[in-house]
């Protein structure tokens, strides 16, 4: 089968003067930073929600990510798009979050959970034909390690090398987790 080509999820939102607000925010302009927040909150919240599988915690992590961005804005050199920088920062916030994992401690890491028991709020179902249950819920039900790799790779478009670097695992280990996640999702979606 031919290799699947996908455009990564992180695309700079349309904005006539995106760098203006970044520069202003870096100088302490909170209104400019609020505009940046409004532009990017959806993507950051989506990332957090899918990575942690818990919308309430994802809202807190989204706030953490933006606060961290505010604190580190002076370190943003413009080498990448602001959205890409912010996205990567949010990934790090989620990966460094100990609370999420401690909350989920006790849940098995070996089998997918019963997706019907996931308190997940008003997720929007996908429209892909043949998917018997909500893909969002199925992703939320994945074991944490597999879920993170799946979200970072298949939803957000990071490469195995990039994910391996973020998670401190080898690219091979990352691929194994991705394969496992996909298999678990297939099971969940077929059940």
């Amino acid at each position: 089968m031919a290799a699947a080509l996908r455009i990564p999820r992180v695309i700079e939102p349309v904005n006539r003067h995106p760098t203006d607000d970044v520069a202003r925010a870096a100088r302490g302009d909170r209104h400019a930073f609020e505009r940046l927040y409004r532009q990017h909150v959806g993507r950051i919240f989506s990332l957090c929600t899918r990575m942690v599988g818990d919308r309430t915690r994802a809202e807190e992590l989204t706030q953490d990510a933006f606060v961290r961005a505010w604190e580190k804005l002076d370190q943003f050199r413009g080498d990448s798009a602001f959205g890409t920088w912010l996205h990567r920062l949010a990934v790090n916030v989620v990966l460094n979050d100990r609370q999420t994992e401690s909350r989920r401690r006790g849940r098995t890491d070996d089998t997918i959970e019963d997706v019907d028991t996931m308190a997940h709020g008003d997720v929007r179902p996908t429209t892909v034909p043949g998917l018997s249950i909500d893909l969002e819920r199925a992703i939320a039900g994945l074991p944490p390690g597999a879920r993170k790799v799946f979200v970072l790779h298949d939803v957000e478009g990071y490469t195995h090398d990039e994910i391996g670097e973020m998670l401190g695992v080898t690219a091979g280990g990352c691929k194994a987790q991705l394969h496992r996640a996909r298999m678990l999702l297939r099971e969940a979606l077929n059940s």
Partner: protein, 210 residues
Amino acid sequence: MNTFNNEPEELDAETRAIVRAAAGLPELTPSRDLWSGIEARIQAPVIALPTQHEQVAAAQRPPALPWRRMALAASLLVAVTAGVTYTLVKRSSAPPDHLAAGPTNIDSSLAVAPVAVAPVEAVSMKATEQTFDREIGAMRKIIDDRRKDLDTATIAVLEKNLKLIDAAISESKAALAKDPASAFLMDRLTHAYDTKLQLLRGVANIPSHG
């Protein structure tokens, strides 16, 4: 991140559908506006959030000692402020220069550490209080947001100490109402506010107990 992401695995149709669906998942929307919480935090004085390494190090420290110190400091503050306030109010008949002359003129039995007294004219106590109130409010907001993450014993100690400090603040304010020109009392009040702010900052910096 690469522009294109090669997926070298051989995928069956079912898995391909999942991958395609995952790539097309829509953006989610928070159930509430998160900006107000972010704004409150970025308006607060800069607090370096502890890194994972620092959290581990903090978790390895004996937990009770800092709180004993903090409780002791708060109690000391209350005792000193109450003593000084009582003495100064009692000596209200003394000439005003007595206080403005500096700590060396204060009765040594009070055993108060030397205090740098700022020129009264240069200090707007109201503005200072407003600044403290704003920063203290921001700290309280952070702690309220984190309340569920903090140990209940920590919260209990915090509230107890805040009551003590608030009592000291009230006493200082009452004394200042009787002697509004007293730089020494202003300094005591400022010190009490600062102690309160430091206490709140300390709690805001405590790693989650989970």
